[in-house]
Symmetry: C2
Subunit: 177 residues, 2 copies
């Protein structure tokens, strides 16, 4: 970047030594006039650099998001391919156990893709209920249930505590009324 | 942003009217010295603004990518939920046709997610072979096949011609040798 402490004004001073001053100007005035011209130029160039950088930053932001979107979308293609393979296999071998096994493998693969993206599947069963990472969709009381804990995960959550992608929907254990 | 054309130096000129000049300085020299101080200050502030903007841009880039990753990852959660539902359903109703139907619906949903992200599934069957958007994995010749066209899509491609996410793997029709 342009450095305001650069020896640019120094250069201006040096130059007056070899430049010939007009008759009606003292060497000091010529010196200062040159310094002013140099400073104005330096300021203008820094301002132009700032303006260019703003534009470039805006472009890079759009491109960065597009790259990220493409990269994340690409990581799901194997899941789609395997879903198709499972369906093709089912049409030739309609054994339900085989189909279910294939789909279970695809689900595990999909969970793995999310984990690789930084959003592992959460295991909230039995944990203390925390509204920051759990969404209560009901309550239940009964023997063997610890009040204030997650009795059942209705829909799993994804992402670590500090970067929740989706909170788990849970049924919370309460004291019998 | 700081404007190099701003009337800042003008202000410096005006100020000399009210300031008292030292005995050994002419009003013109004081005027120029003030102008130099003002310009140096303006340059310094613009340079600082540029430096701050560089740092902010770098931070915003990281944050923008994270937001995009989270948004795209979130769009896949319904696909995972429905895969799980299909498996749960299969355990209570092991009719293979029902299972296959459920999985087929999930696959259609997944293809829809990719389309919403800007990467529709490609339909390359019968199109003219184009190495820019097709990956040839084999050739075939035979009656009814038009040489130079895609005879079979082995693995579907995703994304429009100008934004291919993955090219289709295809078998290309050739002239019988």
């Amino acid at each position: 970047m342009s450095d305001p402490e650069a020896p640019r004004t120094q250069t201006a001073s040096n130059r007056t030594g070899s430049d010939e001053a007009p008759a009606n100007e003292t060497p000091e005035r010529v010196d200062q006039a040159l310094q002013i011209a140099e400073l104005e130029d330096a300021w203008r160039r820094t301002a132009a650099e700032l303006e260019n950088f703003r534009k470039r930053c805006a472009r890079d932001m759009v491109r960065g998001r597009e790259q990220e979107r493409a990269a994340v979308a690409t990581s799901w293609l194997p899941v789609l391919d395997n879903l198709e393979r499972a369906l093709e296999h089912a049409s030739s071998d309609p054994d339900p156990d085989t189909v279910v096994e294939g789909v279970r493998a695809v689900l595990a693969q999909a969970v793995g893709v999310l984990a690789d993206l930084g959003y592992p599947r959460r295991d909230d069963d039995g944990r203390a209920f925390d509204p920051a990472v759990h969404e209560a969709v009901g309550t239940v009381s009964g023997e063997g249930l610890v009040p204030g804990t997650v009795a059942q995960v209705v829909r799993p959550g994804y992402g670590p505590d500090d970067k929740i992608l989706r909170p788990a929907a849970v049924v919370v254990a309460t004291r019998a009324s």
